[in-house]
């Protein structure tokens, strides 16, 4: 499978990264090169293999239903690029 500039632009859009035409042009062979290389994985017969789920045998721990955090609006908003009245703000969204 190889990607063309349209696919590169579509992927960039999915990833929410604005790219210029020059960048799309530069990225296309780069990504093809990398994707072509990783596609050698297709050679491996994995028909009877399960995908890895846990790197080191370990089971998911569950925590108790206890409130341990909250009431820290200042800390939550401390690094906000823009905020007012205790909210983060973004350009107006039309739904």
């Amino acid at each position: 499978m190889s990607v063309d500039q349209n696919i590169v632009r579509k992927v960039a859009s999915l990833a929410r990264i604005a790219i210029t035409d020059e960048e799309a042009e530069r990225l296309t062979p780069e990504l093809n090169n990398i994707l072509g290389w990783v596609e050698q994985l297709g050679e491996v017969d994995t028909s009877s293999v399960e995908p890895m789920t846990a790197v080191i045998p370990n089971t998911l721990r569950l925590r108790d239903d206890v409130v341990t955090e909250g009431d820290q609006r200042d800390a939550v908003l401390a690094n906000a690029p823009q905020g007012e009245h205790g909210f983060f703000t973004v350009p107006k969204v039309v739904e």
């Binding site: 370990n58 108790d64 939550v76 350009p91």
Partner: protein, 500 residues
């Protein structure tokens, strides 16, 4: 199973509606699904936000056991398959209410598999047909935050208080064929969740909302393209949304158009659905297993506890009320429709049996009738729900006991209940203070009867002449003179004797 006859009448003939619901139910817990922030409704913006919920760099999710437990209990209540091995996946998309840039959900291996719900198509009519609606799956996922658009001319405000709250997504099969079926399904599901205690079912607070999938087809034909109307938050709106969306689809198709698979919004003011502003990208959520979390593996001890802690569920309760308590099908249905009502009724029943020293089946009918007509009537009038009733089950049982043992009549009972509602006094105290005790004093009653017969000699003659109907007149006059406190049975006997 009964096939619905609900049809949309189009220009080209009749259309059948195919409906599936994805219900998002907030799991009742103290803390969020993956963080220790609180979940209470209505707090100041961004005060119930952990660093995890705000997706600060390096923050990690740790699942809340109670969320898993409640979802498993819910699955069990729906007779569903519980998957002992499940896992969390990330659903990736960008939106201002989604701090991580992904929602942690379960796509590939949900916690709960297939189950079913039996619904009565008319809740008020126990004789109405029932239908089994399949449940495809239940998975656990994070709720998003909230955007507010009206506070500022050019900005939307972001509140993350809801961000990370645990939801169960309960996905039905496309088994419903009419707005009524969908409404009945949603009501029944809500009832079960409230019984189980896994969701409070408060639709107006957003604790429960439905994504409504609707398509239309010629009866029995191939499935049409469906639309998904998001976040509909009442049973009535769900029914309206289905009706208007099905109507719209028929009109589109019949005028030569094509249904686009899309996400729509329901506008409650207009009672219609409308397309959401179409997104630039076709959705590609790039689901993959969340690498911050290991597979969720449940052991038998955990499942056993979930099972053991399940309450009696509405269908079983209803059968028991009819069978063991001898209630009418209608009363059993009304009393079991909501968990709070059933709980109240059972408290009333237990207390009634205790104070009257009788078995529950002996006191059940009177208790059911009183609850459904008198108490519900009063609550309706007062605009209260049963869990905020001004009268307790204990007080109700005391009142019922006074009626049952003949201390007061049914009529006086209604008066006493009104006074209870007004003053908050106990029925015993009211009866005592107001002197409402029913009398069986034959001397007093005989004297009153003699006075009445003397004052109505003409009617006595008519009665004795064969006009039996007049007996009721004498009873009424006697009761009136006794201010309703005479034992009706004694009055009857004495009147018969005196009138000959």
């Amino acid at each position: 199973m009964t096939e619905s006859t609900y049809r949309i009448h189009g220009d080209t003939g009749e259309w059948e509606v195919v409906i599936g619901l994805e219900v998002h139910a907030q799991v009742t817990t103290q803390a969020k699904l993956f963080s220790g922030a609180p979940t209470a409704f209505g707090a100041e913006p961004n005060t119930q936000v952990s660093l995890v919920d705000a997706a600060m760099p390096g923050m990690l999710p740790v699942p809340n056991r109670e969320c898993i437990r409640q979802a498993v209990r819910t699955g069990m209540a729906l007779g569903a398959v519980i998957n002992k091995w499940s896992r969390f996946d990330r659903k990736n998309y960008f939106y201002a209410d989604l701090p991580q840039g992904y929602q942690i959900s379960q796509l590939y291996h949900p916690l709960v598999g297939e189950g079913a719900i039996d619904v009565q198509l008319d809740e008020k009519d126990p004789e109405s047909p029932t239908k089994t609606i399949g449940i495809e799956r239940i998975h656990v996922e994070q709720d998003a935050g909230k955007l507010m658009h009206d506070q500022h001319p050019t900005r939307s405000y972001v509140d993350l208080n809801r961000s990370g709250v645990a939801l169960m997504e309960i996905v039905s099969r496309p088994d419903m064929r009419s707005p009524q079926e969908a409404g009945a399904y949603l009501s029944k599901l809500r009832s079960i969740l409230r019984y189980v205690g896994s969701c409070d079912g408060n639709m107006d607070q957003g604790s429960m909302r439905a994504d409504v999938n609707v398509s239309v087809r010629k009866p029995g034909g191939e499935l049409g393209t469906r639309t998904e109307t998001k976040n509909v938050n009442s049973v009535r709106f769900v029914m309206q949304a289905i009706e208007s969306e099905a109507q719209r689809q028929v009109e589109v198709i019949e005028s030569g158009g094509r249904i686009v698979q899309e996400t729509r919004l329901f506008d409650p003011d207009k009672g219609e659905t409308r397309s959401m502003r179409s997104k630039e990208d076709a959705h590609d959520y790039r689901y993959f297993p969340d690498p911050d979390l290991l597979p969720l593996e449940l052991d038998d001890a955990f499942l056993d506890e979930c099972k053991a802690s399940l309450p009696e569920l509405p269908d079983a309760k209803r059968r028991r009320y009819e069978g063991d308590l001898g209630l009418t099908a209608y009363n059993a249905a009304v009393l079991t429709a909501d968990a709070d009502t059933a709980r109240w009724f059972e408290a009333l029943l237990a207390e009634s049996a205790r104070v009257q020293k009788k078995g529950e089946p002996e006191v059940a009918r009177a208790a059911a009738n009183w609850l459904i007509s008198d108490l519900f009537g009063a609550l309706n009038r007062l605009g209260k729900s049963i869990d905020t009733s001004p009268v307790s089950p204990e007080e109700g049982a005391e009142l019922l006991a006074l009626i049952a043992d003949g201390t007061i009549s049914n009529t006086i009972g209604k008066q006493v209940f009104e006074i209870m509602l007004e003053t908050g006094d106990t029925p015993g105290k009211i009866v005592e203070e107001k002197g409402l005790k029913q009398t069986s004093d034959t001397g007093a009653i005989e004297k009153v009867i003699a006075d009445i017969m003397a004052a109505n000699e003409d009617k006595v003659v008519e009665y004795r002449g064969g006009k039996d109907k007049l007996f009721g007149f004498f009873v009424g006059q006697t009761m009136k003179a006794m201010q309703g406190k005479a034992n009706p049975q004694v009055v009857n006997e004495l009147l018969k004797k005196a009138l000959g």
